[in-house]
Symmetry: D4
Subunit: 246 residues, 8 copies
């Protein structure tokens, strides 16, 4: 709304013609490069990196999009990137770093500042770690300290209690679990901080690719739990960062 | 198999004609009363009561079936019985007792013996109590001591820990929960006894009438948990009794 | 963990016997009143009210639970309460206030303090208002200022833009929508604040009682959106309050 | 109905025997080539091309069917064709053209006429482009001008507004989107033209292979939106052509 | 876009202050009456009536919204209105007309013009008629001639053929069917006009409240078929009107 | 096809004008009474009764349709008829007979002939009897002898074996069961006759209104089992009659 | 039941000891070969072949089972057999014949007799042919004449009418279709013979691997249609054979 | 609870400082090795082996976890292990044994004692054997005798009766079946022992990867049946062992 007001004032003051104002309205916040429309407006205002979701995109397209992004000086975060994608990205940007477990590529061009508060990322099992890492690396790259507390599922609840201080000390908690997904409810009942629950597709049979954990988390009896899409570690890291920086 | 062998021997010994043997084969273990075939064979062998599921049956049919059952001296258990059903049953059997919360009618005609071991019935919330009572009353009527531990859901896990001894002391545990159904996993991880998980239809929205709790329980990471149909308190009480009496 | 440490110290110092420590461990954080275990521990630490979910509970039980709650001096919030429940509650507490649209009863016994920041509650349509009110009244009673922006669904997106400033000015946004549930994505794309999406069961046919809106919100392309259970206005208000007070 | 009437008249006038009429009735509108029954009747009346859906068909069958089609002079459109299929088709028809992104093969034998009005094909993301291209190429080959507006999803709604004129100027709009599928509702609310919504299987987790977008589109609050099967770009292009030529 | 350009020009010419322009931007296209935001902008441009969906709205709210609508001179269409709603509407507008089968109330204030072309509304069975009438009455009130062809389902396909001319003569066809929903495919294969398929919730068992018909229609092999939400007669009538008036 | 050939011959021989032939083509096999198109063609050829499905139809419509049917001398079968419908039908036809359990009304006007072979209708439980009766009464009215074998579900398989001769002696078997629906598989494995499986909506929880029994029956390992819609007793009776009369 | 009676008589007459009778009871109708229990009893009574379902079985197991089957002189039918399975079977039986499209292996050792009546196998599309062939080859090998009518789906209904005589002349009809599955309803409405509907998994998107066709067929408005599992051509061929031989 | 009491006493007696008690509380029951938290507490109390679920874990992680486990002297059970995993495990432990059908690796370091009672593992078909073997090998390794009764599905129920004594003699029965899953109901109706039902993903079409068998088993009419997750042989073996050892 601020941009529109400012445009109107420039038109009023004769600094801008109507046509120029119309063009500005359309051009400003993103760049159209044909196959994609790169969105700079969040970065401009917030210091957020530009993000590219790699799954299903062709290598040459990813390269082209990143080359375009590199023309600005923002940090860049590429998610769901397999090693092949990383090889392709390194060809256009040597400083790209690959986070293997998280399947994330980061390109750091502005120094990232870390606040004192931290985000806790908790998993039910070992197999949930890739999704948790996607959340953790995303949150770190967005400028947050992260505490990892992995493999503390409710079937052996003493493991959770043994790590409780590292969880309750956080400002936001990301709870990642597959199978029955009960971790989010138990954590939600133990802490007074917002819990972002991430169901994973880990499991078999009646887990129905994460549906079981998803429903379990949506129905959590604990207050202060909200839910992300199945396997959406990136979304959880992003949302946790937003909350941590409030 | 034992009955068939005995029949064969009687035929061999001339005590029974072929026709009589054929008839006996068809008649013995149940009684055909037209609208239903009353099954006496479990009771004969095990001292189990005869059971009637009332939901969807007409009042006169229930009365008729119970009158037939009363011709033998077995105990009788009627489930899913509303107060109207109870009034009808009392007309044909004055000694019938109504367990309101459990929606169960019992007619005790043989003295029930209680073993020393007990079954623990645990619920996540207050709203799960009717299903839990169906399980508890069934188990008691089948000759078991029952310890009730209600409203100890995982969202306030200290309530569960405060009652742990009453749970771990049982020989079998029935865990009743709706919503996210995580109770079964947490209990299953804390005890070394078989846990029968009963999902309930308590909840709203994405609980989808108990589907959420059902899937959660089926996917329990804890070993030693098996699952009943949604709201099937009777089945859990019956199975727990079977296990407790082994 | 703090309580346990303190208990240990008292035992060490001889102020507490082992038996007293064991008893304290079990008794402190909740009160067992038979049909329910009232949970005081959040209130003690955070000034949160005690909460009771009324749906499916019997009137006398609700009265009894509230009478027990009134023995402490906390505020009380009763959700999913129809007018009949309100009549019953008024019998045991004359100062109870009924929020009809939100189906909430509040009993205010400690003065509620309001921070400067506010939570924005946005709905797609008029029919979503009851769920939105459940969120708004909950958030207000938990000590937050709330800005209501109703009936600004994406099918007439100019209505949303005309109210954008009231939305972007909030610290957290609750987006409530049924049918296709696209509101959360559009709002999430427009603001830099965490968005809590609440799907509602409003709709017909292929809305499948809110499943359509739920899936839509879980799959939001916008970053910074997490999702509550269908119709869970209370949960959204509670979570938003947690975030707003960080 | 016209053919039957004409047949009756020929019989009446003695130009046709009853047997000939019966044979004509069965033979005319399609040709039975054993493995398939090629349907010429739409082409005859409307100038539509003959269409073959390649997925799941064996290469030699596709070749055979196309050879049979080539015996008439209609245009031919082959959908869901991978490069291997294209190689096979080129063996029997050198002038076949391959549209790689759209996975379509076209054989143009009659000059295609273009009307002044156009169809706008809009996508939410870059990954939706293959389905959009299937729609666009189909529409073009059926004789329509097409305006492509790609990657304008609702999570960055300014991109959509910046391209609004190219959308509102169309006679029909095809809105292609996966994930939450909200694009159709937003476009439907902004324009006064019929919108054909095509959900795509793009997404992960709770997108359930396009179910999420499908439900979202079916529940659109905007009037003037109807929905195609998931990934059915061809169907949307065909239907849009029908409407554009009215 | 046209309004924004015009606003810019007025600002440039000094006819409008920046503040006035900002206000105009927010106020123009809808009216905020508290409980709802009435949307006038389609009517202004297209002669469409204002529409109100009554299901789930309180009687006094419906009365209030209609009173507000009556302050402009547009036609008014109220859908999903039961007789009780009609009584309430008649209190605020005596000329309101009730279409019982269609559950629609119409208030005609501007004379409706009818074009020569017509829309055909076809149903599979007698029970589908209410949905068909919702479509037909909507289309008529939007200014279209409608031909009703009811009870011509595919299980007795000669009934369909006996009415084929009334169907093929239409410019657009609305095919309404529950149960297996095959009507849309058969009609779509017989005509060269766009077919809008409306699944209904008519059926039992595995019809799953219209899911069966919905899936059947989405998977139609016939080209030129697109699908509305289950029971969405209004949507079909609206979309058909849009197409008929192109 | 025969009718068309005969029409063509009449046209050829000048007995019929083209217009008359066209009219005959459209009029013959059904009668259009406005709200419904009564289908006489099966009755004409096969001696089948005319059938009306009452659920969801208005009383006056049912009366009107039956009055029209009575103008021909066919037998009439009305399904899903509650007592209120029966009262209405009796007003227009005194000889109508009501089969309460089956919810069927029959009007017998031509004497029904019975063959020697019979159809066996088997149910798993007492609650499945209404669906079984719908099948049995339909089959009887279509001219078949029926043997009822009720309450012989697989959980007490000796009841099934005790009645095996009445089942294996049939020419076709209808197996009706809710809950787990295993009856069809067991019967299918025991007999060498076609088994028509009818899942019922009897059950609770994870029976999901008959889905459980439906899936169980579709997946039957026994050869010679095919499946009807949930609760479709009429369809099973009709199909069994077709097979029995081959 | 006959065998049991005969056993009893032998016992009575002293021809059999009780132990021998018990053993006979267990041994007769199948042969236990460790990994499988081959079932000879249908073949003995009916001249049916022995059947083996190959999918998911290891090659050596299939070979072993067939070698055991070859020790009796029955015909053998192996379904879901890929070419690799065929190679393995040929090693143990040179006369095995492979039906490639049907994925069936047959070993004919007793001459098959053909009745005069025939079964018609109808498909909606070309892609449904493999399932149709599984049905057709099964039916032929069970001793039936089969008429194949392929690619006559309802979207081009004139193709169906052009082949109607070959369909109506059959004693039983198997209707095989994927996508919307409407073929079964249309055929069921046109003929007076039992129709066995086989949904196929052909399709994409909202066909959900055959669910769409399955539901469509279960909800068929036409009387005389019953449904097989998705892709279950064998089951349809077997059931059709049972009916054809009545 | 016992450990906490003992800790308190040590603190009281001055044997333990508060800090040591806090540390002990966190450290005792599991060992944190970074990627996983190995849980020794069940083994300590019950003689159970340590268990590792291999699916989805990387080879080096499995090796590392097993090396850590080998530092204690417990038996080790690795489930869902393919041959490649076995090769990796053999590198770190030469005495590891591979159970190919069961996909289980066992490392026996303490002699396993066998009780007199046994567990019966029953399957419906040959294809269910891998899941059954997972259950059987697990139960044996946990110290139980196991009786295998395979391929006795209900479609040929005489096979089941011929093996009944081996089933009824068991203390607990595991019933493993895919497709329609009716085995559990039939077995449950025949025996008086607890039945653990394991649905398998064997089947096609409407088996929906085991959903059909799962629902069938959950809805079992037989009392004394509870259900495991689809394909969860390990869980069934573990639970059966718990019950057998009571």
């Amino acid at each position: 709304m601020q941009e529109i007001k400012s445009l109107l004032e420039h038109v009023q003051e004769g600094k801008l013609s109507v046509e120029e104002a119309m063009a500005a309205l359309k051009e400003l916040p993103y760049k159209d490069i044909g196959i994609a429309k790169i969105d700079h407006h969040r970065e401009l205002r917030n210091g957020y990196p530009e993000v590219i979701y790699c799954e299903g995109k062709q290598l040459e397209h990813i390269q082209y999009i990143i080359e375009e992004m590199l023309k600005k000086s923002n940090n860049i975060l590429a998610t769901r990137a397999n090693p092949e994608v990383y090889e392709a990205v390194k060809e256009v940007c040597e400083t790209a770093v690959y986070h293997k477990l998280a399947r994330i590529i980061t390109i750091e061009r502005k120094k990232i500042q870390l606040p004192k508060t931290y985000i806790s990322v908790v998993t039910g099992g070992t197999s949930d770690i890739p999704v948790a890492e996607e959340a953790a690396v995303t949150a770190e790259f967005l400028g947050n300290r992260v505490e990892r507390v992995y493999d503390v599922g409710v079937a052996g609840i003493h493991r959770l209690f043994g790590n409780l201080e590292r969880i309750t000390g956080a400002r936001v908690i990301i709870a990642v679990a597959g199978m029955e997904g009960a971790l989010a409810s138990v954590v939600g009942g133990l802490v007074d901080k917002p819990v972002l629950a991430v169901p994973t597709s880990i499991g078999y049979g009646a887990s129905f690719n994460g549906l079981s954990a998803l429903l379990c988390m949506l129905n959590s009896c604990a207050s202060g739990v909200s839910v992300m899409n199945i396997d959406n570690g990136f979304g959880a890291g992003y949302m946790a960062s937003m909350i941590n920086k409030l």
